[in-house]
């Protein structure tokens, strides 16, 4: 099928109206996509399978963490909503890596799962341009030019649309697995999506099947936390959202603790003895699972030398007794799960409320998408989140925001917004997926980012607010607060560089107190702050011209000064990187006719149609020599063009 005419003959249907954009799925990706489209003035239809499960956190009830915290800050700096919602629903906040250099600080917050979902629903429902509807999309329509023009739901509602953003999460053709028990179902017993995947395949989109999993939830009343190591929260963590930062938001002072425990010898014994009942090892599971986030049985099998594994015990919310066992994901049968849980310290009498399961689902091969997240197979179709082979709420939200923005840009007749690897983790994420592809659920890690001293959580606003404003997602109020912050940072850095402290007893005393060496010739404030053992705050007594500044400003100033040398090194690397990125490649280049390109490079380039020389260089099978050949080709085309205009 795939077009209106055939559908009218075969299916029972009705015309449900016209929208600019339909967003399919209201998880973390879908909510951001719909929100972005609506704010950019488009009439937006947001379809969900379950109206009470918006922005669900079916796995770990937390947002942020290493690399992921940076993503949330970036989403916020561009005008997305995840950070704002997460600040409001947090029951515990922590700045990871606080004992390390400020360049690798990562914010993380434990969510009240129900509250997060409720808040998001209410926020979306209040949006002027969004129609939130419960319905299962089963079919896409496209015209003779392979451009999308409509969708149909299971109940027969057909919508005329100019663009579709699919954010299907783990729901397409999903099945959950516990040992021998296989259920055709989405996460948490929710109904799955059937048929949409097939329709995408008919449109020529290459599909894959992935697998992921989630651990058991136990009732806190039946758990003894006194034998566990407590992980308290830190109420002084700055908020995720720059909007909340502007309004002086602080996390709640009454932080709810998490706990950590270790698996025991008994856990290993139970698992080893029951491995023959694991669907992973008996071959029931066909989908490719992640190396990140492996099941507990996988951990024991792959690392036989490791006698124990750490488990985190985390609350699911304030109004529930459910506890989440992070690190204890499994697809072993339910009866084995009971024994496994009871082998853990403090959990010997624990009562399981939800059993763990593995879940398999359909997703696309993301190399069939462009960097704008639009499909190369079907014009006007965008995809975001787990459907693109990623894993994680933050990864999904980041793609949802970009897909939403780019669907809107397309309808508004503007150029797509593409962030590169030196601008944002979002750029790294999308470039990795689209350029290299993935064979397992892809998780963001800081090691994937080449320029991470520059891509920090504290400067996401400095990197991206201008872009968010240009697109139209940053309010005037937010923007002027941003400008004021930027000015304050620059002024303070200039002041620290130019304020010179002569040697004095007072200064020596301050230096000695920090465990630093005294300076005989004096030093500028910036020079002193550059010393690893000295912090901005330590110099208060000797810095007479100091003004009261916001904590975020001080943080940014300190990082910029401490890392000055490394930032310069990174800027140099970014310059080299940008030189290739700025050489654009038209999709019409006849790669098969370019003499000098190797055969493999020709076919890969013709198939992927990279947008720049830089992107081409990251495709596997394209060598540096192929890039040199392309450079000469581009130059010769440019000269030909000039000669034509001159002649």
């Amino acid at each position: 099928m795939g077009n209106w005419e055939q559908m009218k003959e075969n299916a029972s249907w009705y015309d449900a109206g016209t929208f600019d954009v339909a967003v399919v799925g209201a998880g973390h990706a879908g909510c951001e996509a719909a929100f972005a489209c609506a704010h950019l003035g488009l009439s937006t239809l947001l379809l969900t399978l379950h109206l009470d499960q918006l922005a669900n956190l079916p796995c770990n009830p937390s947002i942020g963490g290493t690399a992921k915290g940076q993503l949330v800050r970036e989403i916020d700096a561009l005008g997305g909503i995840m950070g704002e919602m997460a600040d409001l629903s947090a029951i515990q906040t922590r700045m990871l890596n606080r004992s390390k250099g400020p360049a690798v600080f990562s914010p993380r917050a434990q969510m009240d799962r129900a509250s997060y979902s409720r808040r998001m629903k209410s926020r979306i429902e209040k949006e002027e341009n969004i129609s939130l509807v419960q319905g299962e999309v089963v079919e896409l329509f496209w015209n003779s030019e392979k451009k999308i023009d409509g969708i149909r739901t299971r109940s027969g509602a057909c919508y005329h649309v100019k663009a579709v953003v699919i954010c299907s999460g783990t729901y397409m053709e999903a099945r959950t697995i516990r040992g021998e028990v296989i259920v055709e179902s989405g996460p948490d017993g929710l109904s799955r999506s059937v048929g949409l995947s097939r329709s995408m395949e008919e449109a020529g989109i290459p599909m894959q099947r992935f697998k992921t999993g989630t651990p058991v939830r136990v009732n806190a009343r039946t758990v003894d936390t006194s034998v566990m190591e407590i992980q308290p929260g830190e109420p002084d963590m700055p908020p995720f959202s720059y909007g909340n930062e502007m309004n002086g938001f602080t996390p709640r002072p009454d932080q709810i603790p998490c706990y950590s425990i270790w698996t025991t010898e008994e856990t290993r014994k139970v698992i080893t003895e029951n491995m023959d009942r694991s669907p992973l090892y008996s071959g029931v599971i066909e989908g490719t699972g992640p190396r990140y986030c492996p099941s507990i049985e996988d951990k024991f099998m792959r690392f036989p030398d490791k006698s124990r594994h750490q488990i985190f015990v985390e609350p699911m919310g304030e109004e529930t007794q459910e506890l989440y066992l992070q690190g204890f994901s499994t697809s072993l049968p339910e009866d084995v799960q009971v024994q496994m849980v009871h082998s853990l310290p403090g959990l010997d009498k624990a009562h399981i409320q939800r059993a763990a399961y593995a879940i398999e689902y359909d997703c696309i091969d993301p190399t069939s998408a462009k960097l704008s997240l639009e499909s190369t197979c079907l014009e006007g179709l965008f995809t975001a989140g787990q459907i693109n082979g990623s894993s994680g709420y933050e990864e999904a939200a980041a793609q949802g925001l970009m897909a939403g923005i780019n669907a809107a840009q397309k309808i508004l007749g503007k150029d797509p917004l593409i962030l590169d690897r030196s601008q944002a983790y979002i750029g790294v994420l999308i470039d990795d997926l689209v350029t290299k592809g993935t064979k397992e659920p892809y998780r963001m890690m800081t090691s994937r980012a080449e320029y991470r001293i520059f891509l920090r959580q504290d400067n996401a606003d400095m990197r991206l607010t201008e872009i968010g404003r240009r697109i139209g997602l940053i309010s005037e109020e937010r923007y002027s607060a941003f400008q004021a912050k930027r000015t304050a940072i620059e002024e303070e850095k200039a002041r620290l560089r130019t304020t010179f402290l002569p040697p004095s007893e007072k200064l020596h005393e301050v230096l000695r107190k920090c465990g630093s060496t005294v300076t005989q010739s004096g030093a500028s404030l910036a020079e002193l702050i550059r010393r690893p053992e000295i912090h901005y705050a330590d110099l208060k007594e000797v810095d007479e011209g100091r003004k009261e500044l916001a904590a975020a400003v001080i943080f940014a100033v300190e990082v910029d000064i401490k890392y000055e040398g490394y930032l310069a090194l990174e800027e140099e690397r970014i310059r080299k990187f940008a030189a290739l990125e700025s050489k654009k490649l038209s999709p019409d280049i006849p790669y098969d006719q370019i003499t000098g390109l190797r055969l493999e490079a020709r076919s890969k380039l013709a198939q992927r149609k990279p947008s720049s020389l830089g992107q081409a260089s990251r495709i596997s099978g394209v060598s540096p020599a192929d890039i040199a050949v392309l450079l000469v080709y581009l130059e010769s085309k440019q000269r030909e063009g000039k000669e034509e205009t001159n002649g």
Binding site: T446, A625, V629, Y633
Partner: protein, 478 residues
């Protein structure tokens, strides 16, 4: 600012003189560090003083040891009046392989970098020095150059060099994975333990790399020679040919088949071309364990050869072994040249020799998918008949390899050398930074740049290799 880049502009092989070209802003400044002018006009004391299109005579020396490398002539070109349109220097030196390699090494150690395949031509084109109509030819030069470099790299990477670089890289990736875990997984206890030994690990890897670089410098690895492999069934006269070609008795020659049980190597020149001749054990089925190992090595050597000289004695009777040889040799890829040599010609008449040639050639043609030899000749190692023909063929082959390129095989090696050197100095910085107790995201950034250098030798994508290393070494995830 990009560094000036250099490479040998004359074809490889032994010749009277050779020209090394260096181009890019700062070329004269690099030359000034290593060139001492003996005779020039007027007030000219340095290369930077020289006007464009002038020549100076002097000494090229290594500033680190103050040793003279060669007496050379230096020609100066000022931008934009040069081949590439950039400031350039051309050094005319003596034609020996070692001299050229030494000069390149000295230039690299004093601020130049090795040219990319086809880079001079590419720059000339981009600067508008080469006509648009030649764009395709330019692309072909780049492709051919890189193809050659790639082949040279592959032949090396299958050898001990690659093993050593790989080992050093793996150690560095392991250390990097520990840094990454420290940042990405703050709670992981294995990573915490590994971290305490990480600086030690880095120092160990550093020592390995330094040793590798030293061996490079001494030219042990950097002996770029064309590989000629002599093969044939037992007692076809392989060792006699080796002795004949190398001019002295390297191999024990007896008429007991199977005397050569291992591969033997001789480095010599043939027609002025530096070559490595490899004599192999006779290929046949054998129950003798030691001989069997020799036979395996022989088969391996054949696969890596530039030229295979396949010897068939005119009196040969072992039909089965002969047919095995035909299948093995004549199915080699077409870029390996094959010479079919009928040996022991001094003991036979012309007809007997021709009969043997024809019988082998017809057997080759009978079989599907086999190619014909590139050279067919008869030789006698005893009286030297036909040996000249073989030498000429070797020279022709070498020149045909070198003709499409200005740098050839040399380039790959010198590039490896340069990247290794750069990686080593970064590794030093990284270790210093660890020892000084800097927060580890700083040394990890430096280490990444070192891995990026090495990646240009091994072809690793740093992020991907790193992520794989993390997953194989640590149990990560929720």
């Amino acid at each position: 600012m990009d560094k000036p880049y250099c490479a040998c502009a004359t074809p490889p092989g032994v010749s009277g003189i050779a020209v090394i070209r260096m181009s890019g802003e700062g070329s004269a400044a690099v030359a000034d560090k290593v060139f001492h002018i003996r005779r020039a006009n007027g007030d000219v004391r340095t290369v930077s003083d020289m006007p464009g299109y002038t020549v100076a005579y002097g000494i090229l020396f290594d500033p680190s040891s103050e040793k003279t490398v060669d007496e050379v002539m230096v020609t100066r070109f000022c931008a934009p009046h040069s081949y590439t349109g950039e400031e350039s220097v051309e050094i005319s030196c003596h034609g020996g392989l070692t001299v050229r390699q030494e000069i390149l090494r000295v230039l690299l150690e004093n601020g130049a970098r090795m040219a990319e395949p086809g880079e001079f031509t590419k720059k000339a084109f981009l600067a508008g020095k080469i006509d648009l109509s030649q764009a395709e030819a330019v692309m072909d030069v780049i492709a051919a150059d890189s193809e050659l470099a790639l082949r040279a790299a592959q032949s090396q990477l299958s050898g001990s060099l690659s093993g050593k670089i790989r080992q050093a890289c793996d150690q560095l990736y392991e250390a990097m994975a520990v840094f990454e875990m420290w940042i990405d997984e703050p709670d992981d206890e294995d990573a915490k333990i590994a971290l305490t030994k990480n600086t030690e690990k880095l120092i160990l890897a550093r020592e390995r790399m330094a040793a590798l670089l030293d061996s490079y410098r001494q030219g042990r690895i950097l002996s770029e020679r064309m590989k000629i492999v002599i093969c044939g069934i037992p007692n076809s006269g392989k060792s006699s040919l080796l002795n004949c070609l190398s001019g002295y008795d390297r191999a024990i020659v007896t008429d007991v088949p199977g005397t050569t049980r291992d591969t033997l190597e001789v480095q010599t020149t043939m027609g002025g071309i530096p070559v490595k001749i490899i004599d192999t054990a006779g290929i046949r089925k054998t129950d003798d364990v030691v001989e069997a190992i020799g036979v395996d090595r022989a088969s391996g050597a054949i696969l890596e050869a530039d030229i295979v000289l396949w010897l068939v004695s005119w009196e040969e009777q072992d039909r089965t072994s002969e047919e095995t040889m035909i299948d093995q040799v004549m199915s080699l890829p077409s870029d390996t040249k094959i010479g079919l040599l009928i040996s022991k010609s001094d003991t036979a008449d012309e007809k007997e020799i021709n009969d043997k040639k024809e019988s082998i050639l017809s057997k080759i043609r009978e079989r599907e998918g086999l190619r014909e030899p590139d050279l067919v000749a008869s030789i006698s190692s005893r009286n030297g008949d036909g040996i000249e023909k073989v030498e000429e063929y070797v020279k022709k082959t070498y020149e045909s390899l070198g003709s499409s390129t200005s740098q050839g095989v040399l380039l790959t090696n010198q590039r490896h050398f340069e990247r290794l050197r750069s990686a080593l100095s970064k590794l030093d910085q990284c270790i210093d930074s660890c020892k000084m107790g800097e927060s580890l995201e700083a040394p990890s950034l430096i280490l990444r740049t070192a891995l990026e250098d090495l990646g240009e030798i091994t072809g690793d994508s740093v992020s991907d290799t790193l992520v794989d290393m993390i997953f194989s070494r640590f149990c990560v995830g929720k």
